[in-house]
């Protein structure tokens, strides 16, 4: 007797342990196999882009903290770069170096969470996740020293940073840099060659080079597919052209490559921080900028290599104290466009890790 079977729809999220916030996937399942998937978002929409139109240019910085809330420093930097481009402000040398150090520390912190939660999605019950949080804690301590905050730093200012780094910052940073490579080796030992992880992540959720370029993916997701594209090299901002670092790339573009890619990028970030520490000159940390900025009429696009990919702020000024329009290019959202192609045909468990390997923050997707 032939049984009548039919696919059924499973709502993964918005409240689900591994949707990284309030993301929702409407999955059509044939048994365990995912036949189709439809991402649904908008559960965290706060209208940030509209809010910017009623705030002063400086007042927008705290809003950017709340976009990708696990990489606030990077958001700050991308926004102030756009405003400085718009208003033509020259940033003091020392401030540029501080910004680079902060952005790279933030990259390490955000990638730690990305890797940790990816391994958590694989089912390694919170152990790698909490180990990575242990190191993130040290970075957050450093940020607390300079900004007084532990999540939404609000540290960058138009024309510099809010205040100079305190005296105890540099010794603490040096100590962190000495320890961190050892911890990275520890993570590699823990799971990098684990047979179960290889079986779960290798060859799963392949994003080919062409697909990655076509959907304009960026960041680790793009580089894991073998494209050597990093805005720090391709279109250097701040003082990134003065540092020596490599762009690690993957070969296949599967979940395992994306995981390895992130660990490799952390090592490069540590290299940059080390060089920036040595080269850092003394001097002021903030340019003379009027309290109420009236940038000339025009438009500007500031972009940086955020931990998740290309983060851009597009600003239009009408010479008033608030931008006429502010558009944000969130890397998470653009990277998600390939999700359906990557997941279709895999099992439920794979769908979860593929989604985890893209590494999104819902605050940034919904804005």
């Amino acid at each position: 007797m032939a049984l009548k079977t039919e696919p059924f729809v499973l709502n993964l999220g918005p409240v689900h342990p591994s949707t990284h916030g309030v993301f929702r996937m409407r999955a059509t399942l044939d048994g365990e196999v995912v036949v189709d998937i439809e991402p649904v978002f908008g559960y965290l929409h706060r209208g940030v882009e509209k809010l910017t139109e009623q705030r002063t240019y400086t007042g927008i910085i705290p809003l950017t903290d709340r976009l990708d809330y696990i990489a606030s420093m990077s958001n700050n930097l991308a926004y102030v770069l756009a405003v400085e481009k718009l208003a033509g402000i020259k940033v003091p040398e020392r401030a540029e170096y501080i910004r680079v150090i902060m952005a790279e520390l933030q990259r390490v912190a955000a990638l730690l969470i990305a890797v940790g939660s990816f391994l958590n999605d694989c089912g390694a019950y919170f152990t790698p996740f909490l180990y990575m949080f242990r190191e993130r804690e040290r970075i957050v301590d450093l940020f607390e020293m300079v900004s007084g905050q532990r999540l939404t730093y609000n540290y960058m200012r138009i024309g510099g940073v809010s205040q100079d780094i305190p005296a105890e910052f540099m010794p603490a940073l040096r100590k962190f840099l000495d320890m961190m490579p050892r911890f990275l080796d520890e993570y590699d030992q823990l799971l990098m060659q684990n047979e179960i992880l290889l079986a779960r992540a290798k060859g799963v959720g392949i994003l080919t080079r062409e697909q990655a370029i076509n959907c304009s993916a960026s960041g680790p997701v793009l580089r894991a597919s073998g494209v050597k594209w990093d805005i720090r090299k391709a279109d250097p901002y701040s003082v990134y052209d003065r540092f020596e670092f490599d762009i690690p790339t993957g070969t296949v573009g599967d979940c395992y490559d994306r995981y390895r890619q992130r660990v490799a990028e952390m090592r490069q970030s540590l290299r940059i921080i080390k060089q920036a520490m040595e080269q850092m000159p003394p001097g002021p940390v903030k340019a003379e900028v009027p309290h109420l900025l009236h940038p000339p009429v025009g438009e500007a696009y500031g972009r940086i290599e955020a931990p998740k990919g290309e983060l851009g702020f597009y600003l239009v000024s009408d010479n008033s104290i608030a931008p006429y329009r502010c558009h944000i290019r969130p890397p998470s959202l653009i990277n998600l466009t390939a999700l359906r192609d990557m997941i279709r045909g895999w099992k439920v468990a794979d769908a979860i890790i593929i989604f985890g390997s893209i590494d999104i923050t819902v605050g940034e997707i919904d804005r």
Binding site: L10, C122, G123, A124, Y125, V348
Partner: protein, 374 residues
């Protein structure tokens, strides 16, 4: 513990009479039922504490440490909390099935302990088919789990329950085949006789059998890395997603009672049960159970989870053939050298285990276990 010793001594005396002898039987039955329920529930609280503290230490955090000294009362606090919770039944649920499922899952987990000797002769029923009874009873829990998955009318629950049934059907076979090796050496199906036969722990004579049993046992009770049926990052909480209050507590208890049961069976079959020097036998038994359980906690905190097709492949392409080979080798050994020196057999068997596992794991990749080479 004088009272336990007293009763157990009496017990040995009572064993001399047939179990259907009126006074002896009822006294025996009542005493051991109370002991088993008390023992299992206390031990379950103990292992929950060990799991949470142990996992905490392994994950570089403290674990529960606020309730009582060293957080020892945490399981009690959890139990009280869960008792006071509201009992929620989904509107679309099959009420009777939903209500019955935790009961059906819970009873077998306790019943397994009826044939496990805590001390020489200290067991509820010294069945001459003891281990067969264990295998039969432990599968009944699956029915309860599937009822929970079906009765909740929740898709996550159904997925979890289906995974569980598939896993149990596959893993029973290597599990039983691993047991048969032990039975061949011991020459008895009674768990008490198996312990008495272990002059050296069978883990040394049956190292491969032990590995197979441990892996299959972990899969049977859904401990990590085989915890697919309640994979929290995929299907929320699996079959017990829709359970709350005391019914959830029952499933929670089942999970740990089963873990204790598998640890107790491993102790009995492979680690010489209650045998040990100096300390009293029942203490040895508990120590060994806790050590085995700790090994399970360790794997849980270390390893990622495998996928459903890999779970099946692991059972049918790795554990099953190895269990068959192990059975044949054991049978030949028992027939050919019934009086062989133990240490020669130990060395031979360890070498066989190492070679077999190495060769078969190479072969296993060829057979394909869901790993994609790119």
């Amino acid at each position: 513990m004088a009272i336990i010793d007293f009763v157990i001594n009496n017990q040995i005396h009572l064993q001399a009479v047939p179990p259907d002898w009126p006074g002896g039987f009822w006294w025996h039955w009542l005493f051991f039922t109370v002991v088993i329920i008390g023992f299992v529930l206390t031990l379950v609280m103990g292992v929950i504490y060990i799991e949470r503290r142990g996992m905490g230490r392994m994950q570089s955090r403290l674990g529960p440490n606020r309730t009582g000294p060293f957080g020892l009362l945490q399981p009690v606090a959890d139990a009280v909390k869960v008792l006071l919770k509201e009992n929620i039944v989904p509107v679309a649920a099959d009420k009777v099935v939903h209500w019955l499922a935790p009961v059906i899952a819970f009873a077998p987990a306790l019943m397994i302990f009826a044939v496990i000797p805590f001390q020489n002769g200290a067991l509820l029923a010294d069945l001459n088919i003891g281990i067969l009874y264990v295998v039969a009873i432990s599968s009944v829990t699956t029915i309860g789990v599937f009822m929970a998955g079906w009765g909740s009318s929740n898709k996550y629950s159904l997925l979890g329950a289906m995974r569980n049934v598939a896993a149990v059907v596959s893993y029973e076979i290597p599990l039983v085949l691993a047991i048969v090796g032990v039975v061949l050496i011991a020459g008895s199906l009674s768990l008490n006789q198996i312990v008495l036969a272990q002059n050296i722990p069978f883990i040394l004579l049956q190292p491969l059998g032990f590995l197979l049993f441990f892996a299959a046992g972990c899969a049977e009770i859904n401990r990590s890395p085989f915890d697919l049926m309640e994979a929290d990052s995929e299907i929320v909480a699996g079959f017990h997603t829709e359970y709350s209050g005391m019914k959830f507590a029952m499933f929670y208890l089942v999970e740990y009672a089963e873990a204790v049961a598998i640890a107790a069976i491993i102790t009995t079959l492979f680690l010489a049960g209650w045998k040990g020097p100096l300390l009293p036998p029942w203490l040895w038994f508990i120590i060994k159970v806790l050590v085995v359980f700790f090994a399970m906690v360790w794997t849980r905190t270390t390893l990622p989870r495998i996928r459903i097709d890999q779970l099946m492949a692991f059972a049918w392409k790795f554990l099953f053939p190895l269990a068959l080979i192990n059975l044949v080798i054991t049978a030949i050994q028992v027939l050919a050298w019934p009086t062989a020196l133990p240490w020669i057999t130990i060395i031979i068997n360890l070498a066989i285990m190492a070679i077999l596992v190495l060769i078969w794991s190479k072969f296993f990749f060829k057979l394909g276990w869901g790993r994609i080479e790119v």
